[in-house]
Amino acid sequence: MTAAVTTAAARGEDGVATSTRHAVTLRGVTKRYAGEHGVLALDGIDLQVHPGEFVCLVGASGCGKSTLLNLVSGLDDVSSGEVGVDGHAALMFQESALFPWLSALDNVATPLRLKGVGRKDREARAREYLDVVHLGDFADRRPHELSGGMRQRVALARTLATQAPVLLMDEPFGALDAMTRDLLHDELESIWRERSLSVLFVTHNVREAVRLGDRVVLLSSRPGRIVKEYPVDITRPRRIEDSAVSTLSGEITHALREEVARHGA
């Protein structure tokens, strides 16, 4: 939506060989927030997400993960550097960001409505998405009548309903219990497969990152910089309790712990 994004997207369409085209590209991205507290939130980020890749982003609280997703989504502008996205990137916000005046179903149906899908069709499809997040029975509820975890799941369903080729997810399962989370990991993985989505996934749960990601990227705090990238070579289907998942997440957790120790939480 910003100039930089559009250019990059256009360039993709201009016929550069698909094999070298990235779903998401960040080149030397720096973000400084305005205002008295002009924080340098991100500093010199270089990151690519390949088409169909599932990249997880971990880092301490306040290190700039949400900022990064906002930049990629085009909702915020970079201070310097370049952001490119191939197609529309749907962002699932850290807060649920549901429309309080619409029922759960209508919230999920809104992206379809914006695409011009007819009433019957979009309601049927919105119902399917609600079923994916196990909220089929709650279609008529308004956001304020849902629990925190339920709202988060409705927001997930709404994000899926955009049918964007790129998903940006900001701690989408943060408010869910372990079981529901496991179920949704499976659902998300299968949708990712079916639609060959490219995903940039922020989480504070390192196990979750290893469970889902093709690659885990570790960010440092103040300013946010990429410390290290961990390819996850564990064959799918994985389970969060798998020992291979445990081992790798132990390693990443250790690195993260050092980061936090270095900068303070």
Binding site: N70, F93, R142, R158
Partner: protein
């Protein structure tokens, strides 16, 4: 008192209703109880006000030709409501008011949306809108006559110039306070330009728009009653003309009777806005 008031905090408003709901009372019984709960304080207020008024009159503070008591006033009102002319006047004034308000609403909404969307327009005419609003109706009369001669349009013009800025301001204010998160969410799921307005900005700003419309109605109605003096067209009696004439005739009883009629209309219209507003808040969960 303090305790009672604490329990009536907006945040708790519905606690009691909820309790009732939980008891699964029969719907109709419950409804009549609700109506009664909404009605009794109004009735009590009216009774108190009338009582105070009668007391002042009985005290002999002012002669009755200056301050008539409720009885003669209501007798007069009772007499008026049996005359055809009164109802004709009410219906002519109401029709003008509603038509004017409807047009003002459309113009005000469009203007508000356009101004709120463009930074240049906002800088250019944002203040002008409020500036216009502070201009008294009387200043517009000559211009109204100049542009529209002595026609219904002249009255309409005065209504519009009074009500449009208020409604536009409501829209602008509401749009300014749409939570940024919802805007971002809307844009991200594919809304932009008009569709962002249609699906996110306007629904989110709706409470403020409704209150702008309510203020707009007040301005429209006041301007209308003033504007009706501007033009009295043969065989078109109207409340505004009656009101001024009653003043000129020095008939205080008649004038107060008319004021009560006008107040009643104002309250009835407010009830419409209030019920829209309550509905909005209930839907959005802004009552718990």
């Amino acid at each position: 008192m303090a305790l009672e008031v604490t329990e009536r905090l907006p945040g708790r408003d519905n606690t009691e209703l909820r309790g009732l709901d939980a008891l699964d009372l029969g719907g109709s019984h419950q409804r009549s109880r609700r109506v009664w709960q909404a009605a009794w304080p109004k009735l009590a207020a009216i009774v108190l006000a009338l009582g105070a008024w009668q007391a002042v009159v009985l005290s002999g503070w002012k002669p009755s030709y200056l301050l008539p008591g409720p009885l003669p006033v209501f007798r007069e009102l009772g007499h008026q409501v049996t005359t055809g002319d009164f109802w004709k006047a009410v219906s002519i004034t109401m029709t003008r008011g509603l038509v004017g308000f409807a047009i003002a609403a459309v113009i005000g909404l469009v203007l508000g949306v356009v101004v709120s969307r463009s930074r240049v327009l906002r800088a250019a005419i944002g203040s002008l809108i409020t500036g216009l609003q502070t201009m008294p109706s009387i200043a517009w009369f000559p211009l109204a006559i100049l542009l529209f001669q002595l026609s219904e349009q002249a009255i309409l013009f005065v209504i519009l110039i009074g009500a449009v800025p208020s409604i536009a301001n409501g829209v602008i204010g509401g749009v300014d306070y749409v939570p940024p998160l919802l805007l971002r969410a809307g844009r991200n799921i594919g809304a932009s330009g008009l569709s962002l307005y249609r699906h996110v900005v306007l629904p989110a700003a709706l409470p403020s728009i409704v209150s702008g419309l309510k203020q707009g109605w007040a301005f429209a109605w006041r301007s209308l009653l003033a504007g009706e003096l501007l033009v009295s067209i043969a065989n078109r009696p109207s409340l505004g003309v009656f009101l001024t004439q009653s003043r000129e005739l020095g008939d205080t009883t008649y004038m107060i009777a008319l004021m009560i009629a006008i107040l009643a209309i104002g309250i009835a219209v407010d009830a419409v806005f209030a019920s829209v507003d309550t509905g909005l808040r209930r839907r959005r969960g802004v009552t718990a």
